[in-house]
Symmetry: C2
Subunit: 149 residues, 2 copies
């Protein structure tokens, strides 16, 4: 019973953490996003390179991405599944990114998100993030930016 309670309490804490993270993304608040990361964060992002390591690299990456949007970003986490233990969790979801780019084009894309989180000193932090879209398996191997759940 205690284990069940801890599990649901942990999941509630993780959901709160991800809500906070998503609100920071919507507000284009770089420091708000970064405050959810552990220092050893390793990010597999939508854009190259293969990986980004450490909070400083991730900070620059988020700032650059936010700068490509006019006004706020509409960022929604959907179909979230949390696999959690006492102090480690793996989460995945389908996330919608919706907004207007500085060049005026409209972006509305669904991406896959997988996170690895660790609880330390009572606080969950994100240690790993993986964002992607699949790609079409025929030349020119375009990213599948038109998929919906």
């Amino acid at each position: 019973m205690k284990t069940e309670t801890s599990k649901s309490a942990n999941e509630a804490q993780i959901r709160a953490r991800l809500d906070e993270w998503a609100k920071a993304v919507c507000a284009k608040d770089v420091e708000g996003v970064i405050s959810n990361y552990g220092p050893d964060i390793l990010l597999f992002d939508l854009a190259p390179p293969l990986q980004y390591q450490g909070t400083n690299t991730c900070r620059g990456n988020w700032a650059e991405w936010f700068a490509t949007f006019q006004g706020p970003v509409d960022y929604q986490i959907s179909e979230l599944r949390i696999i959690s233990s006492i102090d480690v969790a793996s989460c995945h979801s389908l996330n919608r990114i919706h907004g207007t780019r500085t060049g005026g084009e409209h972006t509305d894309v669904w991406v896959r998100a997988t996170l690895g989180l660790v609880k330390s000193d009572g606080k969950w932090t994100i240690r790993h993030e993986h964002y992607s879209v699949p790609f079409y398996m025929e030349p020119p191997y375009k990213a599948s930016l038109d998929l919906k759940p």
Copy 2:
């Protein structure tokens, strides 16, 4: 001390599980791959759709992919990091897929891999897999198939 021992024992078990999984991929052994999955496996794969759910769907997906290769697939797991607790783990790595397609073309691509694992009845199983490459942010938004770690 006990926790440390369990942690390293768990990580050794996970490494063994992933080695087994990779050997099955190299041998194009569909059932060998599937035997590492939990029944609620959810896969974010390189090819569309956004997600594949359940062992039967994943079985078909692996069989189709294996059929695109002549002979064995050279599949290597590199830069593996395991974030583990007693019974939940999040792992990520850069994996190299290397081989000759049935049409004769040569494939040599590095992909990002993130897994979610659960230990139940003393056995680690994979509950979530996420494979991807990033994509170039200029039209035609091609998958970044030429990146090396």
